[in-house]
Amino acid sequence: MRIDVRRTGGLAGLSRGWWVDTDACDDPSGWSDLVGALPRDAPSAPAPGVRDDYTWTITVERTTVTIPGTRLDGPWAALVTRVRTEGTPT
């Protein structure tokens, strides 16, 4: 499956992205486990008054979620970290 991660916003307003095709990875089942651990919901609303935070946009197959950087943790953060580490920059 294809996973896209995009980071926008931040003080510098720079956009960066990474993607993986998990079927082409050495460890497709590890990736499936990561995706399987994702909660149904993602914290999309930023905390009030937060400014210059990053925004993470994560697309797994055809489902896209948007998570403020200050709320990225747990399974979503684990997925993002792995895509950044092993994925291809877009």
Binding site: R6, T8, G9, G10, L11, A12, G13, L14, S15, A47, P48, G49, V50, R51, D52, D53, Y54, T55, T57, G69, T70, D73
Partner: protein, 349 residues
């Protein structure tokens, strides 16, 4: 007379000034000059609740009340307290730069606009440094500033630029005044207001005139490996960097280049280039110290009830033009400079 006891004249100050300058009426002009001298002619912003919060009683602490905390590379806030107000340098560059920058920002608001801290009521100033790992960012969390150390390859530590510190604290000032919604044009105005006042904090600390200022935001943040001078340029949006890895500075200088996007809350860090450039044009046309000319006009606008949370570029521009007329006189060169600036960037006709 304290700044809160300003006398309000029946004859508006700009009319008194016109009479004071009239060569044909020497007695009237002398009378007008005397009247002006007895007035605090810096008109009080119309909506006091944005200048000083309601319900504040007792003495306000006019000292910065700084507390710097260390997150030790974690994302847990606030972190451990490492420097209190009045403590000597810690030896940690990020801690000490945050401390100094908070102080410079506090001094700017107090000395230039008689505003006691970002809420006008002596709110303590808090910052956390060493946040995250290779964290290429700084942000305002609604009550404190948070700074990353950068990655050391592209970005240096984010406390290194005093205008960045001023930028983040200005988000707090906006929060307590116009509270511009962080989306679309109002969001780009929110970002621009932070760049404007962040830049003014740096200019004031260095006692630079508008002509001497660099009009760059975040100079020193990029490492030497980056082909760029700053995050943004108010003088020339779109020219701050052009790097094989980072890409090119995407900021437009005029409405013709307005970026329609859903990213970055509708491009708030990109389209801010347009009102930024208007401020630069107004400030340099007026000359002298930017905080006394265009800065005072922008402050009047920010504290005016006419600037609503969802205002767009044209609405904000109109308020600044009206504010310049009120402060400096309709038809004055400063009024014209503000109007011309917004016309040059295509926001007003």
């Amino acid at each position: 007379m304290t700044p809160t006891d300003r006398v309000h004249s029946v004859v508006p100050p700009y009319l008194l000034r016109a009479v004071a300058d009239a060569p044909a009426f020497p007695r009237a002009s002398e009378a007008a000059r005397n009247a002006l001298a007895s007035l605090d002619t810096v008109q009080r912003p119309k909506h006091d609740h944005r200048v000083v919060p309601q319900g504040v009683s007792g003495a306000v602490d006019r000292s910065p009340q700084r507390t710097i905390s260390d997150a030790h590379g974690s994302t847990t806030l606030p972190g451990t307290t490492v420097r209190h107000e009045g403590d000597p340098d810690s030896g940690d560059a990020a801690v000490d730069e945050a401390y100094t920058g908070l102080g410079a920002t506090h001094a700017f608001w107090l000395e230039v606009f008689d505003r006691v801290s970002i809420d006008g009521a002596g709110l303590p100033l808090d910052a956390t440094v060493h946040y995250g790992q290779d964290y290429d960012n700084a942000y305002w969390d609604g009550s404190r500033m948070v700074f990353g150390d950068g990655d050391g390859e592209v970005f240096n530590r984010f406390t290194i630029a005093v205008d960045v510190i001023g930028h983040e604290l200005a988000h707090g000032v906006t929060q307590y005044t116009a509270d511009l919604t962080y989306q679309g044009q109002s969001g780009a105005l929110n970002e621009s207001v932070s760049d404007v006042f962040g830049s003014l904090v740096a200019q004031y600390a260095a006692r630079q005139t508008a002509a001497q200022a660099s009009w760059l935001i975040g100079e020193g943040l990029f490492t030497a490996a980056v082909h760029g001078v700053a995050l943004r340029s108010m003088r020339a949006p779109g020219t701050a960097y052009d790097d094989p890895v980072l890409g090119r500075d995407p900021q437009p200088a005029t409405m013709a280049g307005y970026v329609d996007t859903t990213e970055d809350s509708g491009g708030v860090h990109t389209n801010s280039g347009i009102p930024n450039h208007a401020f630069y044009l107004a400030a340099t046309a007026i000359g002298g110290n930017a905080w006394e000319g265009a800065g005072a006009v922008w402050w009047d606008a920010l504290t005016s009830d006419a600037v609503t949370a969802s205002i767009d570029f044209a609405g904000f521009a109109t308020v600044t033009v009206d504010a310049a007329a009120a402060r400096f006189g309709a038809g004055s060169s400063r009024h014209t400079a503000v109007q011309d600036a917004w016309r040059s960037v295509g926001v007003l006709d």
